[in-house]
């Protein structure tokens, strides 16, 4: 397993003045993996990406690329390329020359002749369905088309790693969804490692092999999308990835948690007796029944139609539950809430850091 690690960050910290932007980041990325750095703005995800790209230097720690320390290597000598947030295309060059930019820089023995450049560029444009756009002016392209040019411009030199800094942020929802699928396809077809930065949890969940959740300069959790969604390590991750109900609970013993004064069966083990815990319940895991059958009972206070489902807020003993269901319960209605034992996610109280 160790030998297919392509990028390894060891104890990376970054400070601007007194402000600690990254705090001891440890992260390895495997070859051909689609890794997403996910977190709210200011969490350090873009800083991490810029350190890997070589645009800024970390205050301390090491960056290894295929086992070699590269902290001192300037960006133009690194075997990775970047897709920038607002594309950063060369507006003085047409589509063809934008994509060919990286190829034309090769000098001496590596110098490519015009025919090869032409072949490679049209192959790339074909990859993103932009064949025939060679002569077009960059500014005449739509946002989605500019995005595609930016992606293949970065791919044309066949980097081992592609860094993507919120590349879909400026696109509308529909286009963003299409591009997500397309990016994933490109990544699988070319077999290149993608390191993708986003604050959009849905994007992260649908594209990634591995998600790295970050907050306040620290890694909160690393895992597959399923892990992150189903087994969030702390309340921050639970809250950031999808919507959650986070309740205070006390762990009575293994598989028994006390919420709102009642003991409830769950599946989590390994806590101390009577330890205060956060209990996370996903809105879609709440089953709505009659008040008598529910674990909790309460009154519906609001109902919103969300397209696929209804979103309801249910007031129970002073706590507002958020529940998703395809059947609407009207505001004012008294209902019961049921949750299956394995849908209670018990986690240690936040503020405690989580390790790898």
């Amino acid at each position: 397993m160790e030998n297919n690690i392509i990028i390894d960050l060891k104890n990376i910290s970054m400070e601007y003045g007194n402000e600690k932007v990254l705090d001891n980041i440890n992260l390895y990325i495997r070859d051909k993996e689609f890794v997403t750095l996910l977190g709210p703005s200011g969490c350090g995800k873009t800083t991490t990406l810029r350190i890997i790209g070589g645009f800024i230097n970390q205050t301390s720690g090491n960056v290894y690329f295929e086992g070699k320390e590269i902290s001192k290597v300037p960006p133009y000598k690194r075997q990775l390329n970047t897709v920038f947030q607002k594309y950063a295309l060369f507006s003085h060059l047409n589509v063809f020359e934008n994509v060919a930019f990286g190829l034309r820089l090769k000098k001496g023995k590596e110098k490519l002749d015009e025919k090869v450049i032409k072949e490679k560029v049209s192959e790339m444009l074909k990859l993103v369905n932009l064949s025939g756009y060679e002569k077009r002016d960059i500014n005449s392209l739509s946002g989605g088309q500019q995005q595609r040019v930016a992606i293949v411009r970065a791919l044309v030199n066949h980097p081992k790693v592609l860094l993507l800094d919120e590349p879909l942020g400026a696109l509308d929802l529909k286009l963003r969804k299409d591009m997500q699928t397309e990016l994933k396809k490109i990544q699988q077809r070319l077999g290149i490692t993608f390191i993708y930065v986003t604050h959009d949890q849905e994007e992260a969940l649908s594209m990634s092999d591995t998600i790295v959740v970050m907050n306040e300069g620290k890694i909160q959790q690393i895992g597959t999308p399923q892990d992150i969604y189903n087994e969030p390590k702390n309340a921050f991750v639970a809250d950031f990835i999808g919507e959650s109900n986070i309740l205070d609970g006390i762990m009575k013993k293994d598989c028994l948690v006390n919420i709102f004064g009642q003991d409830i069966e769950c599946v989590d083990v390994g806590f101390e007796e009577n330890e205060s815990v956060d209990v996370v319940i996903r809105p879609e895991d709440i089953i709505i029944t009659s008040p008598e059958e529910g674990i909790f009972s309460g009154t519906v206070t609001s109902l919103t139609f969300k397209g696929v489902h209804f979103e309801m807020v249910i007031q129970c003993d002073g706590f507002e539950f958020l529940a998703h269901n395809t059947i609407a319960s009207q505001p004012g209605e008294k209902i019961g809430l049921k949750v299956k034992p394995f849908d209670f996610h018990i986690m240690k109280k936040s503020k405690k850091e989580c390790e790898k």
Binding site: T82, F84, A88, F90, H92, L93, F101, R153, N157
Partner: protein, 271 residues
């Protein structure tokens, strides 16, 4: 509708101060003293060809030197911290707030062969004195001194607005600093260069004060002096003056058109 009514003040301005004077100049250029239509004013213009070529030569030299000096200065200022940038931009503009004539007169005090500051210093150091006054060199010096800020400012402006990410993208794709400059920064700053070239070349080719004061007139006379003489000098002939002005204007329009063309062709130009 709204935008139309807002443009009325400008239209009035344009008619009074641009259209009507233009009509006067054209009318004078194509008439004789009795205001009869004639091409006479244009018939003898080849006599002034040497003056015209001299103007062209000196203004091109000045413009090129201004570019060679102005680009690095604009580039260096744009790389400084925002606070320092403001100071340097202010310093660049400061001389322009001083009267143009005064600034040019002060060069006489500096360059004057007998009592000039330059030669006083040179002789005090026991070095040979130099005789620059009333030469074309002095005219070029005066042009550069007066018009250099018009080159620096537009270049600085376009460089400081350049997206840092585009430069990062070039580096990311494998360009070293020299390649980044020639393949990205320079082509993207062409609009600023074009503006600078225009703003230096146009006043330089039509100047008359600089050549009068520093060039001594006569053999160093420029096209601007020639026009000046037709209106205020002994040679009083506003009809000929208008004709020369028209020719100069057409020439400037053509050269600006050529530069604009160069600008729009820029896509992939400098490679």
């Amino acid at each position: 509708m709204k935008s139309k009514s807002l443009s009325i003040p400008f239209l009035i301005w344009a008619v009074i101060f641009i259209i009507i004077p233009m009509i006067f100049i054209i009318a004078f250029a194509f008439t004789d003293d009795n205001f009869n239509f004639t091409f006479d004013n244009f018939n003898h213009l080849n006599r002034y060809l040497p003056v015209f070529l001299r103007s062209l030569k000196l203004s091109i030299i000045s413009t090129v030197i201004c570019l060679a000096l102005g680009y690095p200065v604009g580039y260096i200022i744009s790389k400084m911290s925002p606070k320092v940038q403001n100071v340097f931009v202010l310093l660049t503009m400061l001389p322009m707030w001083m009267n143009f004539l005064l600034r040019t007169y002060s060069w006489i005090k500096i360059l004057n062969t007998e009592s000039g500051v330059l030669n006083t210093i040179l002789s005090a150091l026991n070095l040979p004195t130099i005789d620059i006054m009333d030469t074309q060199f002095a005219i070029v010096l005066g042009m550069i001194y007066n018009f250099l800020p018009f080159m620096i400012l537009p270049i600085y402006s376009v460089l400081t607005k350049m997206d840092e990410k585009v430069i990062e993208a070039a580096k990311d794709l494998g360009a070293n600093n020299v390649q980044v400059f020639f393949k990205v920064v320079l082509p993207l700053s062409v609009p600023g260069i074009i503006t600078g070239l225009t703003m230096v070349f146009v006043p330089a080719i039509s100047t008359f004060i600089i050549s009068k004061l520093l060039g001594g007139g006569g053999a160093n006379m420029l096209i601007g002096d020639l026009i000046d003489m037709q209106f205020l000098g002994n040679a009083y002939n506003p009809h000929l003056g208008s004709a020369i002005s028209l020719i100069l204007m057409v020439f400037i329009l053509i050269s600006m058109g050529v530069m604009r063309k160069f600008d729009s062709d820029e896509a992939g130009g400098i490679m």
